[in-house]
Symmetry: C2
Subunit: 218 residues, 2 copies
């Protein structure tokens, strides 16, 4: 990964780059995007919201914002590859340039990642590489860290291990529970995710090794 | 580990708790302790500085501050246990209550850790559990994190895995090298290490699971 699939050159003058947002739940980071777009902080459109869960709360956010939404249950497909291909087709048909996972609880395989090289982002509620996987806030509390945070990263087929775009630290308090820590981290998620998408869309960047470097060409 | 071996009750009124500082190199965190003690921010004395390396730069800091220093090469001992016992004896003879590792490049075994339960601290130049072991800053750069930091933790026989006392985040810049990052982290090390020692000596705390919790009794 060292190409620049997005960035100012690849966005046609006068047009707006299109996001696809994948959700499984309440979609609070989807709401964060909608708000950032409304406020002019994120210069992008959301072409489609796709949920693998039919009653995901985030579908109402999409409807409320006039964004097309699709429910695509993974169980309707025979294999991960078949599901990945269906997702890719739906996103490509709508001209999506950057895919943003927002609480999407399915692992994406090589078919999906290969179709959108360096163009799938996710947010994780810890300072990766600490506490990958599920229940990151509980992991952080149990390990006794005093600082946790949130991470925006490119998605690769390796869980929570892709190149990191943005991180912000969050204090862990002595009386925190996983729930109180999660609430504090979520506020920061909303701040950094839209900001990171804006930067990936509009600033020059490249990937060197596992580092995402802004502000210069490779 | 759930005892409170130190803390206000165990420090005799009118006396000052005694630290032993173990070094292998320049001892910049030793200098941090000396400065914090001079400024009244760390209410402790340093009973002895022990180096396993005869030409460690930190020995000059000890001499300059009028602190007893010992050179105890580990190679002079047949086994880790024998070396650990020699260290324990030297520290106990001088009334040391809290041992602070400051760039001490030897793993301490069960003999040492058992002799000072919950009373050995170390500082590590990353936000543990990310990047344990050597060359933490290079690990951070190579992994491409945007936030790193420093961690003060209790020493156990498992490398860099003891309960965490204090952490502080440090930004990683796109043009950082391991050296520039290390310099930024070192400044924070000096801030949080003396502060953490002061808190461990003078505030109530307990360990629950792997969490160090201040401000209340177990």
């Amino acid at each position: 990964m060292s190409s620049v699939p997005l960035g100012v050159e690849s966005v046609e003058k006068g047009s707006v780059p299109l996001l696809g947002v994948l959700i499984s739940g309440r979609g609070s980071n989807l709401q964060g995007f909608v708000t950032a777009i409304d406020e002019g902080k994120l210069r992008a459109g959301i072409a489609v919201v796709i949920s693998n869960v039919s009653d995901a709360g985030g579908l109402a956010i999409a409807r409320g914002a006039g964004i097309e939404s699709l429910v695509m249950p993974h169980r309707a497909h025979d294999s991960r590859d078949a599901y990945d291909r269906a997702l890719v087709d739906a996103l490509r048909e709508r001209g999506v340039q950057l895919v943003c996972l927002a609480g999407f609880m399915r692992l994406l395989g090589p078919v999906f990642c290969g179709a959108f090289p360096s163009a799938v982002l996710n947010i994780h509620p810890s300072l990766l590489p600490s506490f990958p996987g599920t229940d990151a806030q509980r992991q952080a509390i149990d390990r006794g860290v005093k600082v946790s945070g949130a991470t925006v990263h490119f998605v690769t087929t390796e869980l929570d291990a892709g190149p990191i775009v943005s991180q912000r630290a969050v204090p862990v308090l002595d009386d925190d529970t996983p729930e109180t820590l999660a609430a504090r981290v979520l506020t920061v998620e909303h701040e950094i995710y839209a900001e990171a998408v804006e930067r990936i869309l509009w600033e020059p960047w490249h990937i060197t090794g596992r580092r995402v470097v802004f502000g210069s060409r490779a």
